[in-house]
Symmetry: C2
Subunit: 349 residues, 2 copies
């Protein structure tokens, strides 16, 4: 039997929607764990979670929790990360942070392994996991950029409620049931728990995710714009986003228009390129009604791309439809994948 070294892994926010997916992903990937520390806020501490059949008691996250930890996966909100990730890093842990706390910090690499694995080497104890809607898009854009160049991206999203947390899923389901029953209901969470007004999400589409910034774009839209440029090392790339919440439980869909640099590219070339790219499954046979959907992408690690069409007016323009599980590739799986690369690159020893 091979002697595989195990690592001390901490999961911060273990009881949340993403934390739960982190644990199941670590399990599914058979991640080499010698010790598992599950951490949370005081509110959730004391809960017991199963990992590979063994019960683990969730403990209150504090600076000392990270003594001896090799890899810490954070997904407990930006303020927790801001406070505790530096403490964990100071104690020698490498933090993979799934919040927006450090993403645009020039000192912190923002990583999607299929796109910019090499950036991991620049870490100073913290590596940021990008926003869910950004991750699946750059997975599809990077092979195109590499082969054909990329000038422009315009994306409209169709985002699942699980991106707003477990309570938002509950709200969508309860609202749906109320509407089917013809009963009254009061929206309390979506579009954004931290904002003033709340709207019906069941049988509706809400063009707001996160709060609005001064320029009229939402923070979610600005994340997609700024994070894409950072991950792809293309500050000059033209990116625009409209982010919309729709009544789907798991799986973000994206309608993406791009302009490549190279002239005369065919749809078949683009399909071949994406079919052979890391982390992508091409689902694109319109004659057989084969295309990606949230319902079929949910629960999977890959990014699914289809509906690839050449623009009818612009030789360099293409349209496509990109779908992935927002809690897996969009969060838990991308974080665990970074952790796996920390090992394979020899950064965590």
């Amino acid at each position: 039997m091979e002697n595989v070294k195990g690592y001390h892994v901490a999961v911060v926010g273990a009881t949340g929607a993403v934390g739960e997916k982190m644990l199941s992903t670590l399990e599914k990937r058979n991640f080499p764990i010698s010790k598992l520390t599950l951490l949370s806020s005081e509110r959730s501490a004391g809960k017991k979670l199963l990992f590979k059949g063994e019960e683990h008691v969730v403990q209150v996250a504090k600076p000392e929790s990270f003594e001896g930890v090799d890899i810490a996966l954070f997904s407990a909100g930006g303020s927790v990360s801001k406070q505790l990730a530096p403490e964990a890093a100071k104690r020698g842990a490498i933090c993979v942070d799934n919040t927006s706390a450090f993403r645009m910090d020039p000192e912190v690499p923002l990583v999607v392994p299929e796109v910019n694995e090499a950036d991991i080497h620049q870490h100073k104890g913290i590596i940021a996991n990008p926003n869910c809607s950004t991750i699946q898009m750059v997975v599809a854009l990077e092979p195109i950029r590499k082969a054909l160049g990329l000038n422009k991206v315009i994306v409209s999203t169709y985002q699942a409620v699980s991106g707003a947390g477990a309570m938002a899923i509950k709200e969508m389901k309860e609202q749906s049931q109320a509407i089917l029953n013809g009963e009254a209901f009061t929206p309390e969470i979506l579009p954004c728990g931290a904002d003033k007004k709340h709207y019906q999400i069941a049988f509706n589409a809400i063009p707001q995710i996160d709060k609005f910034t001064e320029n009229g774009f939402t923070f979610e839209e600005m994340k997609m714009i700024n994070e894409t440029k950072k991950i792809m090392h293309m500050p000059e790339l033209s990116v625009a986003a409209t982010c919309v919440r729709i009544p789907v439980e798991y799986g973000h869909s994206e309608s993406v228009y791009i302009e490549v640099e190279k002239e005369g590219v065919t749809v078949q070339e683009l399909k071949d390129l994406l079919a052979s790219a890391e982390g992508i499954i091409l689902e694109d046979q319109p004659e057989e009604q084969v295309y990606p959907m949230a319902s079929t992408a949910a629960g999977k690690f890959e990014t699914f791309v289809g509906r690839i069409r050449k623009d009818l007016d612009n030789d360099k323009g293409f349209h496509m439809w990109i779908v992935s599980d927002n809690l897996l590739k969009g969060a838990a799986w991308n974080s665990v994948q970074i952790a796996e690369r920390l090992i394979s690159l020899g950064i965590v020893k």
Copy 2:
């Protein structure tokens, strides 16, 4: 009391989802009707419908049904229109056809009153009502084109299931209930009753509306592209569309990117322009979370526009969110509106 002339109006497809809305719209608008003839296929004939409190028996539509009819509103499928609209026209009726049968016929005007009312004069007995997703978009685009010029349109839609008929609404509701109950279900209608495969619409997004054409775009997408150019008299306009069905009952939403001709236009100018345009209600106060939604546009005649933003890279680029009730402005109301113009323009006497 003013002596208002009444007209003999026929509604073909009176028992369908759009037919029903045509009747309620005629009622709400107090349309000057001297005689009302309700027509349908043999299957639905004999049904009784109320109009202004009076019962009307639906009759089988045949060529002779149109004797003496002034205005015939068709919404019973393309094949019925192809067969009967010319027969009705031959008998002196002016037909407003809500199917795709004649829309791209160069002899048939394709009309959205706010955009190209004058085209009504070119009619030879048939006037086509455009596709639902096209109508609401051109209502918003026309005032922009007039004031600022227009070069490019890229739209991604979020379309309600009612566009696929009453049975599709039933399917969405039953599927939603099955999923909430954890029960199995078999999709039978959506994305397109006439196509081979059927997929889950509840808690999902399906990037297919209508069948696929040879170029990889769907017929719905090609309708948006070709009809927009025809209605706006801009064969050279660059238009691209991605059409997506989402689990909403009434109200199509559209994420639209445009490029205007004029330089230096501000968001405020665009807002002022749209706020004063015919048929549009501007809902655009991000700081107050005011933007259009299907849930608030359903049941209304107007087209709602909001989320207007200037592109961050292109001075001539703007993004916006356009919502309207697909069965009203997208179908019944636009048809009745054309009928009203036939009277106000003195075409029907």
